[in-house]
Amino acid sequence: METGVKFTDISLGRSKERRRDDPNTFEYTYKAEITNIHRLTPKESLYRIQILDPEERIRFTFSPGQFVMLELPGIGEAPFSISSPPSRHGDVELCIRSVGNLTNFLSKVGRGARVGIRGPFGTSFPTWEMHGQNVLLVAGGLGLAPLRTPIAYVQENRSRFGDADIVYGTKDPSQLLFTYQYDMWRADDINLRLIVEKGGPSWDGPVGMITTALDEILAAKPPSYFQKTFAIVCGPPVMFKFVCTMLNEREVPMQKMFVSLERRMHCGMGKCCRCNVGSTYTCLKGPVFDYWTVMNLKEAI
């Protein structure tokens, strides 16, 4: 008769197939390489990151709006929205602003640097539900980064959408991101409206708050536009409030308005609780929320 307590080993071996409920996925990091760095502004760069293992690269898929955890050993790990089209597998672009440990260090690494990525995590924009509808994308500052994915989707599937409008505002012209892409977007019949809070000598566009630009766009739309429109809003918390209120007043359905929330995160998998809003995990139930949900979240905006 045996009377000992047996050891239970939970590691499931070296299976290549990783399910989310396989506990060994928890700290599983795809080893990846920074294949290119494109400096957008003094503070923001676009990093192209490719998973090294070709098989893993094929398996890595994501939806617009999702994020990955990017890690540099000993430096830190943090969440970043994927900023590239979902049609590319295992090869993501992240637009990153230098603000802290990891992001500052990233601004110093070069092409070829080895990083780790986990994910993708979180909810996404329901792009396929948006077919046949108008899309209105409102971005403030760095908020354009996550929107670049749905923009690419619209570009790739332009015929499936009605009006496509982007309203994008920053503090000043030097902070505008992805300026080199604006012509291409316009060429794909996407209406891009830029506005800056403070102009400069080289700026001849409009100056003001993003709500001003949005107001102008909305004023030009027929009443039938609003019910048939999906809106995605991304940017600093103060912006949400005003923009969402405006859209709400024009009766854009609450379930068709999406925001992407940003909170502190340490795991991305609903464990560390740092991202909770009220008691909802931003990493699991978000970062993409519809406006109805956000309204019902205590302390969301």
């Binding site: 009377t3 989310r20 409920d21 996925t25 990091t29 000993g74 502190r264 998998m269 740092r274 909770n276």
Partner: protein
């Protein structure tokens, strides 16, 4: 009581799932302990010292001596947390090799441990943690590995003035243990949930409980029920918490709170954490360390650039109640609180769950 015991099946584990009952003479217990000690490391409640009023201070600690196990203990100051949710734990280590690196993951468990004498609240705490950390889409392997290597001997207890486990539905443990002992005077009434437990018991003398044992058991249980002093009214609590989100009472509690994090650290169900990565002084290795955190701490929700989503004490304190008594209830139909009363006992500012909730309900603290 009897009915629920027969009906429930063990959710986790292997072997037998039906509950088997035995009685065990008290004189046999040291022997059982000895048999177990021979089969693994035992963690038991132990007296660590005396407080200023000469009351014993209990802790969970490894011991191989039966005499050291204080089985009629009240409540330990700290839960057995370090054995399933260590305060500090490396999630990964890295070897730095030139410009490249290797990530090494270890779940930090090498052998099973026998927990001898957990109270129902602490067993329920594990069951509730299981919902987040073991089940669901992203199991937390560091926890899972430790949890799966816990052999648990539960033991009944007498409610202390600060215990409100009954209000939290945590006064009895239905599953999540291997064996449970209830004091019947000269004997223990033993519930057996695993074959391992069953095998251990075969090394000592036990007997089939008779009708009078059942009667004694039920008397013991009702004696316990009469002893509760602290209560929390949970009727409609999730809604009330929502309605009272802006209530002034939160401010009053916030003024008292020291934002010290003690409540979360002594709580058997608080699992929030922070992660920090550090590089060794010789730059040859790095580690990713998880540290249990507390939502009451100033920078819990602070992000890079300095924006803090909860800069005020009362807002953070409120959040702790929201997570435990609203969000978790909505997700899992029970609160993330087992009513052990530890946080209230340890809080220097005297902030206790029954008082806070009563005040939110407008019942004046």
């Amino acid at each position: 009581m009897k009915k629920r015991a027969r009906r429930h099946r063990r959710e986790e584990g292997h072997g037998r799932t039906d509950m088997i009952f035995r009685t065990l003479g008290k004189a046999e217990l040291p022997k059982l302990f000895g048999v177990m000690a021979a089969g693994g490391k035992i963690v038991a409640p132990v007296e660590a010292g005396r407080d200023r009023e000469n009351r014993p201070v209990y802790v969970f600690r490894e011991t191989a001596r039966f005499e050291e196990a204080a089985l009629s203990y009240t409540t330990t100051k700290l839960p057995a947390k370090r054995y399933f949710l260590p305060y500090r734990e490396d999630l990964a280590t890295f070897r730095i090799e030139g410009d490249d690196w290797q990530k090494l993951v270890d779940y930090n468990v090498d052998r099973p441990r026998i927990f001898f004498g957990l109270h129902p609240c602490d067993i329920n705490a594990l069951n509730r943690l299981d919902k987040v950390l073991l089940n669901g889409v992203y199991p937390m392997p560091y926890y899972v590995a430790k949890r799966k290597n816990m052999f648990i001997v539960g033991i009944d207890c007498l409610p202390q003035p600060y215990c409100f486990c009954r209000s939290m539905g945590a006064d009895t443990a239905l599953h999540g243990f291997d064996m449970f002992l209830t004091d019947l005077g000269d004997d223990y009434f033993v519930e057996i949930l695993s074959d391992t437990a069953y095998n251990f018991l075969r090394c000592v003398r036990t007997s089939e409980p008779g009708e009078d044992d059942h009667a004694r058991y039920m008397k013991a249980v009702s004696r316990k029920n009469d002893k509760f002093i602290a209560h929390v009214d949970t009727t409609d609590l999730t809604k009330i918490l929502d309605m009272e989100f802006q209530s002034e009472v939160w401010k009053q509690w916030g003024d008292r709170c020291l934002a010290c994090g003690t409540c979360a650290n002594v709580c058997p169900t608080c699992y929030c954490y922070g992660v920090e990565e550090t590089v060794s002084v010789d730059l040859g290795s790095a580690r990713k360390t998880k540290t249990l955190y507390s939502c009451n701490l100033l920078d819990f929700a602070e992000v890079a650039g300095g924006h803090n989503f909860r800069p005020e004490r009362h807002v953070r304190l409120k959040y702790r109640y929201y997570h435990k008594h609203r969000g978790f209830v909505e997700a899992y139909e029970e609160p993330l609180c087992v009513g052990c009363g530890r946080c209230g006992e340890s809080c220097l500012a005297g902030i206790t769950v029954p008082e806070v909730i009563a005040s939110v309900r407008g019942e004046g603290a």
